[in-house]
């Protein structure tokens, strides 16, 4: 099933190669095929969700597929998803057709190439969330840079080349570090067991000395922090977003950023728990800075797209904060916030794209009074704005609340800072909303703009509906992720139960009459939980680590 989800878009892309498209004569056909392929892929991801066993006794990783790939180095084609991966795969499946629909009028040149890139991108994104082999993960991770690079570089706005290069250099810098650490891990596995392996489960079981962990964690964390992006590694994002075409922005904000958060949850912290715990305060501090900083800078942006881009820095700061809390609420909140942010920010970029399609500008000052001209678009924008500011009852609130709860249990000071983001998000979103939509129509160019078309309804209606459904029935999304998150949190806690970080809430507050943390049983499954009990075992020296 997972291979099917990855291969479908690839097959679609290959199919497109054989369609001659001289002078864009077959643009319509190509668009239809691409959309159809992405819809079928979405169907497959939904079937994964339907087939995912959520019972307490279920395996953590399901739909597992294994095949040897490069046996000499123990590299396998190994796929499998837990609830976290599942939800992100579904998100990818959901957003890709929407992104494709946004391209129908904004992308007018080289439609065939564009469509191929989009499908390859989708395949690679699904692959990233399914790969259980670190080498395979890395391959998917790097493959998707290529279509994204071209999406920005070919179909972007004026400064697209600068933005594309900046995007790829930033990301490559991080991923090279990660590659070194991945190879180092495999090497350590060889030293310990006599064979190379990139299998995540086997690497989880490795007992890595703290010093080595420290360096490896740093390498992974920097790669993921750039992707998230976490302050101060965020400056590629505004440029990339502003220059990227609308579908590129939707995918970038909707899915690509989530890979950073996913990587932290799946790899960086559970692979190197002790180092992760010691880095957590630093990363948490950076994430609180990101929340406030991103919001403040968003507040003063004259360009709508840049504003939304900086708001992403702020929202994703919440995600990282939740992860660093290293408890179930925090990580669940972070995972949920990734889904919520994918929906609401994807929708914001789509909406800004619709306005930009009409007026060919994204400057807030060019608008004003749009509500009188396009009431439907305004209503949709309002719904998404509310979702983005985290109005309770909508998707943004659930994630933020759980993240703040998780972080509060760890260190309330972080929440005192992060909570300011709640105020500031209202400030920057409502200020923008007021300047764009309220007031009289002052600019003649804005008179007589057409309201939402049927195609645009098809883009925004599912997103707006999701924003509400996720807020009203969050458990439908939280429940599948819970076993996965619990097992990861337990893995980290079992390694580091002695450290102050994790036991802080219990030791400082000994009075709560509430029941203690419930201990979910039966998450054994495929993951061998072997807490490192001794630190005496030393591995063979690792090149480059120190």
């Amino acid at each position: 099933m997972l291979s099917l989800a990855i291969l479908l878009p690839v097959v679609g892309a290959i199919l497109l190669l054989f369609i001659g498209n001289r002078d864009g004569a077959k643009d319509g056909l190509i668009r239809t095929i691409t959309l159809a392929v992405s819809l079928v892929t979405f169907g497959v991801t939904l079937m994964l969700w339907a087939g995912f066993d959520q019972s307490p006794t279920a395996e953590t990783f399901q739909f597992v597929e294994r095949a040897p790939w490069i046996p000499a180095f123990g590299i396998e084609y190994s796929l499998g998803i837990d609830g976290l991966g599942l939800m992100l795969v579904v998100l990818t499946g959901f957003l890709t057709p929407i992104a494709l629909l946004t391209s129908w009028e904004s992308i007018e040149t080289k439609v065939k190439e564009f469509s191929i890139f989009m499908l390859v991108l989708e395949a690679a994104m699904i692959g990233v969330f399914c790969a259980l082999d670190l080498f395979l993960f890395y391959v998917f991770w790097d493959i998707l840079l290529i279509p994204m690079y071209f999406l920005i570089g070919i179909w972007g706005y004026d400064q697209r080349i600068y933005a594309a290069v900046k995007f790829i250099l930033y990301t490559m810098a991080g991923s090279v570090l990660m590659l070194v650490a991945i190879i180092g891990l495999s090497w350590m596995h060889h030293a310990a067991t006599g064979e190379y392996s990139f299998d995540l489960m086997k690497l989880y079981a490795l007992d890595i000395p703290y010093n080595t962990q420290w360096w490896f964690f740093l390498a992974f964390a920097v790669a993921f922090a750039i992707k998230v992006p976490l302050f101060p590694f965020h400056t590629w994002l505004p440029d990339a977003h502003v220059q990227a075409p609308t579908p590129g922005s939707v995918i970038l904000a909707g899915v690509l950023l989530k890979m950073g958060g996913y990587g932290l949850i799946r790899f960086a912290f559970p692979l190197f728990p002790e180092a992760g715990v010691s880095f957590a305060p630093l990363i948490a501090t950076l994430s609180v800075i990101a929340i406030i900083y991103g919001a403040l800078v968003a507040m003063v942006q004259p360009d709508m797209k840049k504003l939304v881009a900086y708001s992403s820095v702020s929202h994703m700061g919440f995600v990282v904060l939740g992860i660093t809390a290293l408890n179930v609420q925090g990580v669940q909140g972070a995972s949920y916030q990734m889904l919520a942010h994918g929906v609401s920010t994807g929708a914001l970029f789509a909406l800004v794209g619709m306005m930009s399609d009409r007026r060919h500008t994204r400057l807030i000052s060019e608008y004003g009074g749009i509500k009188s001209v396009m009431p439907k678009l305004t209503a949709a924008f309002l719904v998404i704005t509310l979702s983005s500011v985290g109005l309770p009852g909508m998707n943004g609130f659930v994630g933020e609340f759980l993240i703040m709860l998780g972080a509060f249990k760890w260190d309330p000071r972080l929440v005192v800072g992060a909570g300011l983001g709640v105020i500031l998000s209202a400030v920057y979103m409502l200020w923008m909303f007021q300047r764009v939509f309220y007031g009289p129509v002052t600019n003649d160019h804005n008179k007589g703009l057409p309201d939402l078309s049927f195609r645009e309804w098809a883009i925004i209606a599912p997103l707006a509906a999701m924003a509400i459904v996720m807020g009203v029935f969050p458990n439908a999304f939280l429940k599948p992720m819970e076993p996965a998150v619990t097992s990861i949190v337990q893995r980290i806690q079992s390694h580091t139960s002695a450290t102050a970080h994790l036991s802080a809430p219990d030791s400082t507050r000994s009075h709560p009459p509430s029941p203690g943390p419930t201990a979910p049983a039966g998450y054994g499954g495929a993951s061998p939980l072997t807490p490192a009990s001794t630190r005496s075992h030393l591995f063979a020296p690792v090149g480059g680590a120190n």
Partner: protein
């Protein structure tokens, strides 16, 4: 059944938001009113069911489903009706229905889609407000809490073409967000400390906490929640949004910014009374902020010239009274005033709406006068409500305000009592200044509105381009006299239209309410039974039922520091005894014998207090009459005196007129610095110069290296092949010899 109460207005919202554009006004307005009335009937039937229960078990809970689960944190989407929320839902659906009906006439001039938009927002507001009061835990309450904020935002900005309206809307939402930030922090601390957000569980857990926790943590929790309340209920320092909120249509001001939403903070404290009782420090702060706000807003209200702004500051001031009561631990008195205030303030706002309606959008009381004979229904209802708010017996405001003042005095806070009485004087004065300037004296109004409406009505998208388009009559209704005198300086001989039937009905019902609403809370001192207080008691103390006041020191602590709650708590404890509604952790109640002694003392005290209470009542009634007399002297008989005073004390007058410059101070101290720091410091400085500077510098360095490396890139396949070969050899060599 319980869920039906909020879901009915929500259904109305859905109808109007999806199909409203295509519906005629009679249908969209009719649907909105019908769901409200239906909701009121369901609410009444549920409350009736509640009345039929034994006082201590008056609770109806309905759990819909589990809303959020993460680890050991789990939260239900559940509703709970008890004595307190019963009062609230009746006020919300009852007065809400009246205001919906009033709106059908008031907003009649809007186009069909705008009319539907208005009613969809109004229905949505009621939905969220009911969620707020029916939610069985803090987070469901918070959904309602922010939801009503959203609707308030939408309705304040209803005339969105006007910049002042959208500014006011933003201000309301953002200032409320500041409060909500504190509210969230308080809720989080509550989860961590008390292990739950369910009101019953919270109350039970709070009682069993050791005193050292209650001193610090509970004080902090309650303080944070109270900051949230200062936002929603417009108290110092977050009251600034409410006067600006008058940009919304007048019925909105009546419903949201007088009768219901702004009282949410008071309700919240009542809801969490068992927790607040444990935090005497917070209660003291609540009382002081409440009293200070009451006085402060009263002084501003005295000089404002916009009829709605006077009422807005009056609302802020009256909310201050409610918080004063809550801070005294006299939760019943606070809710009592909330309830009576809903009647007379809604009546006043709707009355002001009728005036504005008749004058085609004029809001400046300097341009009114002598309207009594033109608008008799409006005049008489407005007058009755003014007497009620001034505190003249036996109208509603007298009983509730008096109970607050009495409780304040009784608890030994004479200074706060003096502040309260002073505010009472101010209230009577500014209200009757309003009455006299609007309805009495010379007619200073003009009818230029007739021209405005002619230009404004048909303009597509131009609705609201001028002040209060919604307040204008469509031309046919005006009748001939209007059109004959479009630009007269003075309105002598002009025929103004009094409130049409839908508006008149609401005014009359609310005026009747302003008279009789207080009668269910007539104090014992006047031979009444304070039925409302008795009814509410279990709601503030329900936690006691489930938990014995375990440690002696804790009980002593609570009583010592929260005398206000004393007799209430004890009375209910004796009544309630071992009853334990729906708390799974129910334990036997307190042994009645422990409490009897204390109860006797309370009874003895009561005899002395009756005399005191009567004395205080006399004083405050005299004060109220003095206020009215003062207003009559200054603005009815000697209009030159206030003008002289204004010139003589120009500084003070300007200070009050400009609302103590608080808006300007906030702007200069917070908004502008934040903007400039963000623009110059963070964005252009940090982001562009520092971070990107470093990135670009790294780029140059790499570029330099690359220029060197480029020498290797010869383009010759032979060179590459040689390189590859050497590389392979090197790797092999490493593996062979390592």
């Amino acid at each position: 059944m319980l869920a039906l109460i909020p879901l009915l207005p929500f259904a109305g919202f859905l109808v109007n938001v999806t199909m409203g554009k295509r519906l005629p006004k009679s249908v969209s307005g009719g649907v909105a009113c019908a769901v409200m009335v239906a909701s009121f009937l369901v609410a009444a039937s549920q409350v009736w069911a509640l009345v039929g229960m034994a006082p201590e078990s008056r609770q109806i809970t309905q759990t819909l489903y589990t809303w959020i689960t993460a680890g050991d944190f789990s939260l239900d989407l559940a509703f709970r009706l008890d004595a307190l929320s019963a009062v609230m839902i009746l006020v919300i659906t009852g007065i809400g229905s009246l205001i919906h009906i009033y709106s059908t006439a008031y907003m009649h001039e809007e186009t069909d889609p705008e009319y539907a938009r208005y009613f969809s927002y109004l229905n949505l507001f009621v939905f969220f407000m009911l969620l707020l009061v029916l939610g069985s835990n803090v987070l469901v309450m918070f959904v309602g809490w922010e939801g009503v904020g959203l609707c308030s935002y939408l309705l304040i900005g209803y005339y969105f073409v006007k910049k002042s309206a959208s500014d006011a809307a933003n201000k309301a939402f953002i200032v409320n967000r500041v409060g909500d930030y504190a509210f969230i922090l308080g809720s989080l601390l509550m989860v961590v400390t008390l292990g739950s957000l369910d009101f019953v569980t919270i109350a039970t857990a709070a009682k069993s906490l050791p005193p050292e926790v209650t001193f610090g943590t509970i004080s902090l929790i309650t303080l944070l929640l109270f900051i949230g309340a200062t936002g929603k209920s417009a108290q110092i320092p977050l009251y600034v949004w409410l006067p600006d909120a008058m940009e919304g249509p007048t019925p909105v001001s009546a419903l949201i910014h007088a009768a219901t939403m702004v009282t949410a903070g008071v309700y919240m404290i009542g809801r969490l009374a068992p927790v607040f009782e444990l935090a005497p420090i917070t209660l003291m702060i609540v009382a002081v902020i409440g009293a200070a706000t009451a006085l402060f807003a009263g002084t501003i209200g005295l000089v404002q010239n916009d009829i709605k702004r006077v009422l807005a500051y009056s609302t802020v001031s009256q909310l201050g009274y409610m918080f004063l009561a809550m801070g005294m631990g006299a939760f019943g008195a606070g809710i009592f005033h909330l309830y009576t205030h809903a009647f007379f303030k809604a009546c006043l706002f709707l009355g002001s709406g009728a005036v504005i309606h008749a004058l085609h959008g004029e809001q400046d009381i300097r341009k009114m006068g002598g309207l009594a004979k033109h608008l008799p229904i409006t005049y008489w209802t407005f007058l009755i409500a003014s007497i009620a708010i001034a505190g003249i017996p036996p109208l509603a405001g007298f009983f509730s305000k008096d109970e607050i003042l009495f409780e304040t005095f009784r608890h030994g806070h004479q200074i706060l009592w003096v502040v309260g009485v002073l505010t009472s004087l101010l209230t009577a004065t500014y209200m009757f200044r309003l009455v006299f300037l609007t309805f009495h004296g010379e007619e200073r109004f003009s009818v230029q509105g007739a021209q405005v409406h002619g230009a404004g009505v048909p303009g597509a998208g131009g609705h609201g381009a001028h002040g209060h388009a919604g307040a204008e009559h469509p031309a046919p209704v005006h009748g001939a006299p209007m059109h004959h005198a479009p630009a007269h300086g003075h309105g002598h001989g002009i025929h103004l239209h009094d409130a049409p039937p839908a508006m008149a009905t609401a005014l009359i019902v609310l005026a009747i309410g302003s008279v009789v609403a207080g009668w269910i809370g007539i104090p014992h001192a006047l031979g009444g039974h304070n039925a409302l207080g008795t009814w509410l008691e279990p709601a503030f103390t329900y936690a006691n039922c489930g938990t014995p006041v375990t440690t002696g020191e804790l009980a002593g602590f609570a009583i010592q520091n929260c005398e206000p709650g004393q007799d209430v708590a004890l009375a209910s404890m004796t009544q309630v005894a071992t009853q334990a509604p729906e708390t799974p952790a129910a334990r036997p109640g307190p042994a009645p014998s422990d409490l009897i002694g204390v109860t006797d003392e309370v009874v003895e005290e009561h005899v002395d207090e009756t005399a005191l209470e009567l004395t205080l009542m006399g004083i405050s009634t005299l004060i109220a009459f003095a206020g009215i007399g003062l207003a009559a002297f200054l603005w009815l008989k000697n209009r030159h005196i206030p003008e002289q005073l204004a010139t003589q004390f120009a500084g003070v007058h300007r200070l009050l007129l400009n609302k103590y410059y608080v808006d300007e101070i906030y702007d200069a101290a917070i908004v502008q610095p934040l903007k400039s720091v963000s623009t110059e410091g963070l964005w252009r400085g940090m982001d562009v110069k520092v971070v990107d500077g470093a990135v670009n510098a790294a780029g140059y360095v790499v570029g330099g290296l690359a220029a060197g490396l480029r020498l290797l890139q010869t383009g010759s396949v032979k060179t590459y092949a040689a390189g590859t070969f050497l590389g392979v050899v090197a790797i092999l060599a490493y593996y062979l010899w390592r």
